[in-house]
């Protein structure tokens, strides 16, 4: 029987976690899919487009999220943190923590009455940094910084979904196996201080830049403007491997950034051909399917790829111009170039699988185990799911019904 007694815990509901959950559940295992965010989709949801197809990320992610929510064998636990895994007498015990939520998503009918009564406009239809509401069914999004707990929303709710006194809950579930798909994060503070990440509005990380230039934010015909003072952007510089492949910070290569830069640069070039875009790289890595051709297209569109790693990025405002100055050393001579916006690419840190969970036998997959783009994350997830399903059923344990024609009339 493929249905073994205990459920599998999948931590993280990015593309890898969702794929692992679907593969396990389609094979017949029960799955608890745990996500600390309020919605499924992870970092992919913050991408406007995905390479190498240039399709928007929303549709595939939405379909996966939808399938996870609707799957009869998957229990989705959003707003829940994974706190640890320990070996119990009859299998593993996972410790989970459900964050205190003002609005109970199961009760909310999204009628909007709480948003109307909120005096500080702390309740919004959706999170402002996402183009759509990813929570399904939708629930008003709480801006915790604005809320002063005045308590007016509670009585206004006709469904009784609001309870300000709700506490964080900790609970345990028994699991047979665990897949850890924690994904990546952009470290704060930025790993390489010489590039000034998070110190100036015109020095952006790649994910922040994705939001800035996203299709849903773009006004047709409108030029890209600097976040600092709104002047039109003429020069744009990408610094690759910012903080990565660097023994001081992250020694690994983040594997996705070369293509990510090519994607952002080429679609900006299409939108605004007069923009000067330079990508400063150490090694241009395009080993994945269709990636070399994608990079060639970017070159043809006029994106400049320069093999060089700037030493310093600092804002200047003087007679020579305004912007971010990049200092390079070329054959022992120092040169300076000016850019209006600098995008720091690379430096994505893996969210590692907690040690005690790994010892208890959790399978890491996706970016957290090995930096990977969407395709490779999904492959890693499928592989982890196959290992778990294979180990549990085994050849002898499989039922004749499952082993093909034997069980059919």
């Amino acid at each position: 029987m493929p249905d073994t007694k205990q459920a599998v815990l999948v931590v993280g509901a990015g593309v890898a976690g969702m794929q692992a959950a679907l593969d396990l559940a389609n094979f017949g295992r029960r799955v608890h899919l745990v996500e600390q965010d309020s919605h499924l989709g992870g970092q992919t949801l913050r991408l406007d487009k995905v390479y190498p197809t240039d399709h928007c990320a929303f549709c595939p992610v939405w379909t996966h999220a939808f399938a996870c929510r609707e799957h009869p064998r998957i229990t989705v636990l959003t707003g829940t943190r994974f706190k640890g895994l320990r070996r119990g007498p009859e299998g593993d015990i996972a410790l989970l923590e459900k964050a205190a939520r003002l609005i109970d998503g199961d009760k909310c009918v999204f009628c909007g009455k709480c948003m109307e009564v909120c005096p500080r406009k702390a309740l919004l239809g959706r999170a402002p940094d996402l183009p759509w509401d990813p929570a399904q069914p939708p629930v008003p999004w709480l801006d915790a910084g604005r809320c002063d707990a005045c308590g007016k929303c509670g009585p206004a709710c006709p469904a009784g979904a609001i309870d300000a006194a709700r506490q964080t809950e900790t609970f345990e579930i028994a699991v047979g196996d665990c897949i850890f798909a924690g994904g990546f994060q952009e470290p704060r503070p930025a790993p390489a201080p010489e590039f000034g990440g998070h110190t100036h509005p015109d020095i952006l990380t790649a994910m922040a830049f994705e939001t800035l230039i996203a299709e849903y934010n773009a006004v047709p015909g409108e030029k890209l403007r600097c976040p600092s003072d709104g002047r039109p952007v003429e020069n744009l510089a990408f610094i690759q491997c910012a903080g990565a492949r660097d023994r001081r910070f992250l020694s690994h290569c983040s594997a996705v950034c070369c293509m990510h830069a090519a994607k952002q640069a080429s679609w900006l070039k299409r939108r605004q051909p007069d923009l000067d875009i330079a990508v400063f790289y150490t090694d241009l890595r395009t080993p994945g399917k269709g990636q070399e051709a994608y990079m060639k297209t970017a070159e043809k569109l006029g994106v400049r790829f320069v093999r060089r790693r700037p030493g310093l990025a600092a804002p200047v405002d003087g007679p020579s111009g305004k912007g971010i100055a990049l200092r390079h050393e070329i054959n022992a001579r120092v040169a300076t170039t000016l850019a209006d916006i600098v995008v720091l690419n690379g430096g994505l840190a893996c969210c590692p699988c907690p040690e005690e969970a790994a010892e208890a036998g959790a399978h890491p997959c996706g970016f957290c185990s090995e930096p990977a783009d969407i395709a490779n994350s999904v492959i890693q997830a499928g592989s982890a799911a196959a290992l778990i399903c294979g180990r549990q059923t085994g050849k002898d344990a499989s039922s004749p019904a499952y082993r093909g024609s034997g069980g059919r009339p």
Binding site: P2, V15, Q19, N26, F27, V50, Y51, P52, P60, V61, H64, F66, E70, V109, F110, C111, K113, P137, P158, A159, R245, H252, C253, D283, R285, T286, P287, G288, K289, G290, E292, A293, R307, N331, C350, E370, P371, I374, A375, V378, I379, A381, G382, S383, A385, A386, L387, C389, G390, T393, G394, K395, A397, S398, S399, Y402, R403, G404, S405, G406
Partner: protein, 591 residues
Amino acid sequence: MKKAVLFCTCCGTISATLPPDRLRDALGARLLSAYGKEGPQPACEEFYACSMLCRREESEAALNSVLASGAEAVLAAGCSLSARGFETMKFLGGSTLAEWADIREACAWIHEDAPDGALRKAADILCMGLAALERRAAVAEKPPPCDFPTGEVLVIGGGPAGLACAGALGKMGVRAVLAERRAALGGMLTQLGLLFPRFISGPELAEELIRDVKHIGVQVLPKTTVSGVQPVPGGYRAVLNGKNGEEERRFDAVVLAAGALPVLPRGLYRYGELTGVLSQLELETSLGRVESGQKEALALPRQAVFLQCVAARDENNPYCSAVCCPTSLKNAIRLRSLRPDGSVTVVHRNIATPGKHLEALYRRATASGVLLRSHDPAVTPECLGTERVEGLRFRDALNGEDTVLPADAVVCSTPLKPLPDTLKLAGSLGLRTDGMGFACAREPVQPVSPSGAGIFICGAARWPATVEHCLEQGRAAAAKAAAYMRGIGSCSGDSRCLPVVPQTFWELMPDSACRLPSAEVNGEKCSRCGRCAAVCPYGACFLPEDAGMRVDARKCARCGSCAAVCPTGAASLPGETVAVLRARIKEALSR
């Protein structure tokens, strides 16, 4: 048929604009004006208002009371499907025909300032829903035709990906048949002495994988080529050429893991003309001999130069082959440790070692004294020497100067290329291939599942991949294939009450109880023109010799292409059919 409307006031947010009694009157007036007292109208006998239909208790109570009054079909009106509608439909779908109408987001909320117009629009929306309900009830429900499954998966190729896939399938309890064109299993693994990044032995890994596959009971067919795979109703028919001669066999699913072979640098860099210009595999072999003590270390080159991207990233092979940089670094490290007195240089365009493990390999190479030089691809490097290679001339990419490196061996690092047979196989399976000859799936979110049901790809036939990636892809394909095999045992289900959702969603849940039935062909209307078979992207339409068109329920993805091209209207999709859509539109225009 008696129909009822369940109207959700959504705690007053809908009824503020659309009061229930006024809406009921508007609906009645709308039906009366469109059809008169007599005509065949989509009548509505019951109008039931409730305040929160999305609550299970409330929707079940409402459903019970309208069923008790004799209604057979229910039109629920409330928020949009993407809000609470889909959830609520599941409560309503159990016992009756149901249809959903969005009158909150699509009407009450956006027309707050024009309540009279909102009422008319809401009445229109409800009438369209009632018309669709009427039509939907008329669609006969048939269980999808499902052929008797064989329960077997064919895995083509016994390299690392194929072995990993067959082994994983076996462990998951699925019967796998592994066809390998050579006598021995293992593929490229048998030729690789040590594997990066962990420096384990290739043949040993192959042995382990083969042991696994044999122990688990996978049927291995050595010296067997697969000359073609055709979709047939219910599965695939493969032509196998093995020791028993040509044999035809049916399978439920097929995994393509046919791999790829390194290009030989023939005619390039004076390979074959100068001694000492080697291919990567030739160096790999001699390194293996030295490591196993069959040969002296002194036989290895003292001044080795690895030249990357030979016959790759050019016009003929416009791609980066992903495995050559790490392979060169691995062999450079081996060479450094076997001949510490020598020098090793890797001349590259970009060192492609993405990720954690490969980047660590890169650092290990530089730490062990391997030199890395980048060359300018605009100037083709040149092997110097007469009879024996003496050096390599190239243009340095950083300072732009022409440089000559002394060398007694130049190792040409060439890309992997799929076999011509793979291309033919992919063609017969209906798989798309890219310009380079690799099979395509649906990048990036479904990298091992092409659009055809029951076909999967993995390993270097998909794209050049390291051994670790091949193993991962093999297992990932096995997970999908096992889920598919489980799914085809239980693919029937009641679909009438479910709204239209993207077909990819149903593919993600192959065995879900709510899987929609396939397209169907009305044999009486079918003229056997064959247009649907020509247009079906999933190979699901078949034209038997003596009967009308048939649809394979397992392969059909409900894309509707057959219905769109059918000149006689014989092909259709159950559920949201052309007829239902037409009924909606007709109703909208009827006033």
